[in-house]
Amino acid sequence: DETSESSELVEKVNSQLNSEDVGRLFAVVHLGGLQRKVTTEDLILVGKRIEADVGDRIILNKVLLVGSKDFTLLGRPVLHQDVVKVEATVVEKTLTRPIIRSYYRRRKKFRRFKLQRFPQSVLRINSIQLNP
């Protein structure tokens, strides 16, 4: 009866996948060494300079998980590109605020003061599509 239960569940999920309307989706994407949970119209900050120009639309390939209200699809470890497609727009490419690097050695007349700024990029998630 356990197998019949699970097959029933799989049937339910498949019927939802094949239907047009699955509601709002969310996804967990691997981006810049981090796993980020996103849904459409989200803003995410990446602590790296992205090669694409601002306004360019990019595809986030490493999708680890997709979920809707009623079901969740887990990748092992990533979902196939035929299953899900996450698109994002590069909205901003900036630098961080000046970060202070200050250090000294006591009684040694040794003092250093540096200001560092690191590249940053902001992405806007445009769409998460199942069976693109």
């Binding site: 995410i44 120009d53 601002v54 809707s68 806007r124």
Partner: protein
């Protein structure tokens, strides 16, 4: 200044930029420079060699050239949200000015602050926030706890203690089939 006392903000962008199409937020650039003095040499070089390429690539950005006698060169940029940023380009080579102008072009115009979060969302949860009661039987709503029936250990594999006890019992009863232990040793 330690990060605790620096002004902070949350990740944001201008309106819903990027949801439909992307709009470049840089509107005006005023480049003030001197025609004769040395600190403006890079600025003059930039105007001669790189400025036209920039304007060709970005038709939406207005560039004003403002010669000021014996002043150090400055770059003043204005964004769609009304903010203005000024930067000194004193003794900067032309390549650096190109790079900084590109930096201003790719900015959204919001103030650069310490960010408290690197994620902004309007819908924080889709499947609902998890609570200890999610995916639990609803009959538990009317059960009085502690409940002996629910709190009992679920029947799992036979534990080692149980196996030894059962073997000992079998021995004691006179049937020397230490099957339980024998199985284990075989494995």
């Amino acid at each position: 200044m330690p990060s605790r006392v620096t002004p902070s903000s949350y990740l944001r962008n201008v309106l819903q930029n990027g949801v439909g199409r992307y709009v470049c937020q840089l509107q005006r650039v005023t480049l003030s420079f001197c025609k004769s003095t040395n600190p403006s040499r890079g600025a003059r070089d930039f105007i001669e060699n790189h400025l036209l390429e920039f304007t060709r690539n970005n038709p939406g950005v207005v560039i004003y050239l403002d010669p000021k006698r014996h002043h150090s060169p400055k770059l003043c940029v204005e964004y769609l949200n009304g903010r203005t940023e000024t930067m000194s380009i004193d003794r900067y080579p032309a390549e650096d000015i190109c790079q900084w102008l590109d930096h201003f072009r790719t900015r959204s115009g919001v103030q650069i602050n310490r960010l408290r979060k690197n994620w902004h969302t309007d819908t924080p949860s889709i499947q609902g926030t998890w609570t200890p009661a999610t995916n639990r039987p609803t009959s538990w709503n009317v059960t009085e706890f502690p409940c002996q029936e629910i709190s009992r250990r679920l029947p799992d594999k036979e534990t080692a203690t149980e196996r030894i006890l059962s073997a000992a019992k079998a021995l004691r009863e006179g049937s020397p089939t230490n099957a339980a232990i024998g199985k284990e040793t075989e494995l």
